[in-house]
Symmetry: C2
């Protein structure tokens, strides 16, 4: 690999400067992405390897990040399980037939991932081929809890109250469904690794909506299963938004790194995760609207606070659509200019 | 006061059992509230002392909580400042002319609170009169940061990105506005105390969207000013949703109690707040959909975890509209049946 910084940081090896990538780096803030968005709907872009590859490579060329992450969506796993998912303008994910009881749960399947998600593995191969070992490629999946949130709620939500109520009222059904998602996700990620991804990131976007106890019931055990299943293959990064309370368990899980959101200071994050594991994050996405010189100052401060080693620079959540490209690039440049 | 439990808990005095009240207890889960909602729009209910009084008293009679909280809204302070606020069905708060620059900020005023918020003080007097010292009456205000979020964003939001961008890009304007809100809030709360409220709660619903550093710039100093200004009058409860990272500063502020959301365990909350200050919370609002016997078990567990003293039972956020009244009552009853 020409640029090995991410892999080094995931191993905990000393680096000259930390690697940097950005969650949703192949996204709506890029004018070239918006051009493709006008021509092809969301899942067409996901399912057409040529399009997904083109989109995946955009931020490598245009802002110079140290890793690619495949353009896809966490909800493709639900689609493969026979749960219909649409992407609606102005609403986001929309599921016409949410899971609400045993009958609807039985409609979901344990899919043959080759048959239903083959387009993802094909895309991985195409990207790896195009990347020519320039930078590593990250593959990803949603945490089972986060997928359940969408599958039950039927769309995005501030508090996913219907999804939580379903779990509290029907814990056995919930755990059955979570296991089904987990089994599918493991099969999916194993094939993604076989197809060539160098790193896996798990996104638990809604883990932070649970109490610490419920997190240990409905989210964490399934993430741990996935980490265990991938053991010995590629490094796994776990990003649990709002999951500061679980950093200790996470740090003992075998994950190579933990993603941190911006509400957890570097100091708290290092303390809560035991001080040894690689951390990733945690610039407030809204701060990319600051003037460029101020972005550079604050990125440098952030690296000083986390320390340059065992650290991957990223935002604390996905990049916002209204960020100017040169601000995203300034974020990346600030890391490249870093001198301790 | 016939029922002095809340005041005792706020003083840190030992109690037989902790007091209990529910955020949004006078709200949409009550059928009688919904009947008034059909007849009168939101701000008519706030501005008509007879209606606001009737609504305030509903949960005292119907579910038996240990405190009343005046039916009102945090956004009345913005209205008094000459910032138009509507309440739209299906959207929630909607501000047709959000604050976006110096010019729009200059349109806002430092109001005479008697002139613009006199209806609130009149309501307080009416409620106190009706309550006949049965239970204490809580008055409240939004934290300046949370009010700024609405004033700038113009409506509710998952991440209040426009509000945050405004603060990062124009910190001087932001602080000028925050000070204006703070000055208004202090005048407002002092009059509320004069009118007869026994306790004040400050709601920082969106403090948890900030980094710990920014919280110290854009939110906490203004809350501290309000606490200081009310010093020597009535006890102040500060509820900062998602503000676990600031519990230490909060515990030294002179606040009588701190509200905790459900993502912070009792143990973490006691630890982070130094173990001495009274805490309030933190039942996951979605858990009121559990079967009644299970609610009772979990409430008892929660009291055991927080300890019966220096503790006020509440939810970790407002009660959801779809909670059956008998479940809300079971929550209250579980506290009344508590024996350590």
């Amino acid at each position: 690999m020409d640029n090995n910084l991410l892999i080094q940081a995931l191993k905990g090896s000393p680096v000259e400067r930390p690697p940097v990538w950005i969650m949703r780096q192949a996204g709506r803030y890029l004018p070239d992405f918006m051009k493709l968005k006008e021509k092809y709907d969301f899942f067409t872009r996901c399912r057409t390897p040529e399009l997904a590859t083109e989109i995946t490579l955009m931020p490598i060329d245009q802002i110079g990040v140290d890793a690619a992450i495949i353009f896809s969506d966490i909800l493709v796993v639900l689609q493969a399980m026979n749960i219909e998912v649409e992407m609606r303008d102005g609403i986001g994910p929309y599921l016409p037939s949410p899971i609400k009881d045993k009958a609807s749960l039985e409609q979901s399947i344990l899919p043959d991932v080759h048959e239903h998600l083959g387009y993802v593995f094909e895309t991985v191969k195409m990207i790896k081929n195009e990347l020519k070992e320039q930078v590593p490629l990250i593959g990803f999946a949603g945490a089972p809890w986060t997928l359940l949130c969408y599958a039950v709620q039927g769309q995005g939500s501030k508090n996913f109250d219907r999804a939580k109520a379903f779990c509290y009222q029907h814990p056995e059904l919930a755990n059955e469904f979570l296991q089904k998602i987990t089994t599918t996700t493991i099969a999916y990620l194993r094939e993604k690794v076989k197809a060539g991804v160098d790193v896996i990131q798990l996104f638990d976007s809604w883990g932070g909506l649970l109490t610490p106890k419920d997190y240990q019931v409905f989210s964490w055990p399934y993430i741990q299963q996935i980490i265990d299943a991938l053991s010995g293959t590629v490094p796994v990064i776990v990003f649990g938004k709002g999951c500061w309370f679980a950093l200790k368990e996470m740090s003992k899980s075998g994950a190579a790194a933990l993603g941190i959101d911006w509400t957890c200071s570097a100091r708290n994050a290092r303390y809560l995760s035991g001080g040894q594991i690689t951390l990733q994050g945690n610039f407030d996405p809204s701060k990319l609207l600051l003037p460029i010189p101020e972005i550079k100052i604050q990125v440098k401060q952030m690296i000083n606070e986390f320390g340059k080693d065992r650290y991957i620079v990223n935002l604390g959540h996905g990049i916002l659509p209204n960020i100017p490209v040169d601000h995203a690039k300034a974020f990346v440049d600030a890391v490249k200019e870093y001198q301790s």
